[in-house]
């Protein structure tokens, strides 16, 4: 069940979106996320929907694969929606016992749910079409100016790319340990929250032990391959803008303007 998380997984395919410079995709995702929180009306969401649908179509990642990424945050979405539904003051539509549903509440709940879904879908377009290495390369290069104020940009980027590489591995391992313990009678599914959290502890210990062992091994493997920080490194895939990247920037700007214009409608 943990394997359904698609964030941080790369989906190899030969598409324009895959080929775009990661800096463009980072910028695009940022703009998209910001726009989602500015949009308040139906027309705005239509624009956002078209933009995202276009990106998904261009990326050649099956829609089914993207939707899988939504499953793990279902509960979060539900909670957010319920909070909005019941706790927004305004014109009361129905009320029973101490609970009241207001018109604004319904609006907010729908809005928040759509936003969250779009947020996840939008960011997964980026993570599914960009290898973690490209992504961190993109970040590293975009954030390079911070080097001047002594932020270790390369180290941070390297840490992120390794974390992303090991997320699927650690998830798989958690799954394995869970199954092994379930086979011996451990129960992760029943009981109240507190009990379930307590049941998780025997899961965490072996997971941490193995994560530290992996980190140790990996550090040694990197050293053995002459890794010694960012200085003096060359790049196999250096980032350079080509025509399609400038076009993409233009498309993003157009989208930004459109969503600002139509956002309130």
């Amino acid at each position: 069940m943990l394997r359904d998380i698609t964030i941080g997984q790369y989906y190899p395919a030969d598409s324009v979106i895959h080929k775009l410079d990661p800096r463009v995709k980072l910028f695009g995702t940022l703009i998209y996320v910001i726009s989602l929180f500015c949009i308040k009306g139906v027309v705005g969401f239509v624009v956002a929907t078209f933009f995202m649908a276009g990106m998904i179509a261009l990326s050649k990642v099956p829609f089914k694969f993207m939707v899988k990424g939504l499953k793990p945050i279902m509960i979060l979405m539900l909670i957010t929606a319920l909070f909005n539904l019941f706790l927004t003051p305004g014109d009361v539509l129905v009320s029973f016992w101490v609970l009241e549903i207001t018109k604004e509440g319904v609006q907010n709940a729908v809005l928040m749910t759509i936003r969250l879904i779009y947020l996840i879908l939008g960011t997964s377009v980026m993570t599914l079409t960009t290898t973690p290495n490209q992504l961190t390369d993109g970040l590293e290069k975009s954030l390079r100016p911070l080097n001047k104020i002594k932020v270790p940009v390369h180290a941070i980027a390297m840490m992120m790319s390794i974390a992303l590489r090991f997320i699927p591995i650690l998830i798989e391992e958690t799954d394995k340990i869970m199954k092994a313990q379930m086979a011996r009678g451990a129960d992760f599914e029943n009981g109240n929250m507190l009990k379930r959290i307590k049941n998780m502890i025997p899961l965490l210990v072996p997971l941490f032990v193995s994560a530290f062992r992996r980190a140790d091994d990996l550090a040694m493997a990197m050293e053995a391959r002459c890794y010694s920080g960012g200085a003096g490194r060359t790049k196999m895939k250096p980032l350079t803008y080509v025509k399609r990247d400038y076009i993409a920037y233009a498309v993003i700007i157009v989208y930004l303007l459109l969503s600002l214009l139509c956002g309130r409608i």
Binding site: T131, P168, D217, A221, T234
Partner: protein, 284 residues
Amino acid sequence: MNIIKARQLVHEYIRRDEEGNVESIQTALNHVDIDVKEGQFIAILGHNGSGKSTFAKHINALLSPTEGSLWVDGKDVADEENILAVRQTAGMVFQNPDNQIIASVVEEDVGFGPENIGVPTETIWTRVADSLRSVGMLKYRNHSPNKLSGGQKQRVAIAGVMAMEPKCIVLDEPTAMLDPNGRKEVLRAVRELNQKKGITIILITHYMEEVVDADYVYVMDKGEVVMKGTPREIFSQVGKLKEHHLDVPQVTLLADILRQSGINVPLGVLTREELVEAIMRIAG
């Protein structure tokens, strides 16, 4: 010239308590002498804890000697200035395939080493393609390592080392976590690198079958080199191998039992074919 030359090499793991006082000393290598000529295929055998990995890490300058010395391609590993050169000359492949692949795409992982040593971009691409081809993994270049089998992952790791154009590759139990098929794949790749590209191979292993083709074998126990010789010389001493907690290949064992029961098969039989031939000869 010997590409690897160890003289009276000693390594002690020193455990200290919080105040820095020595708590215990574990001698993992005890006056080891090992010589490897360029282009050779060397195997190192030994029971758990015999010091094989410790030796391997010295060849890659991941550990430095407590006493004695080790030269890799004429460079002293104890000298800080040589570290990068030594690591370039002698690449290292580890046991766990998952914990040595750094990137999320096969070709990017193979390019990691050359990037670190500052190889220009175009050269990296040709090196990556060449190394992946030499281990038969070129068609997987755009795959995620997570979707590969253990044997394939290990071959990617070997390609990653090859891309740094080393003269020598040290493999520390590269097949320990693989199934029999994966094991064969990896060994075939290693043997080809040795024969076609003349890369010196140092293979550390538990599996006797993998040692049969080696040019020379060292057997270690408790940090010392206790036996050395050609595979035939080593495997003709079944009793001594057992003393060091090592099993011999099944065929060799069978031949040995036959000998002891008075049938005149030669010493140190290594393959099934040899044994069949010997028995046929005796049977007339």
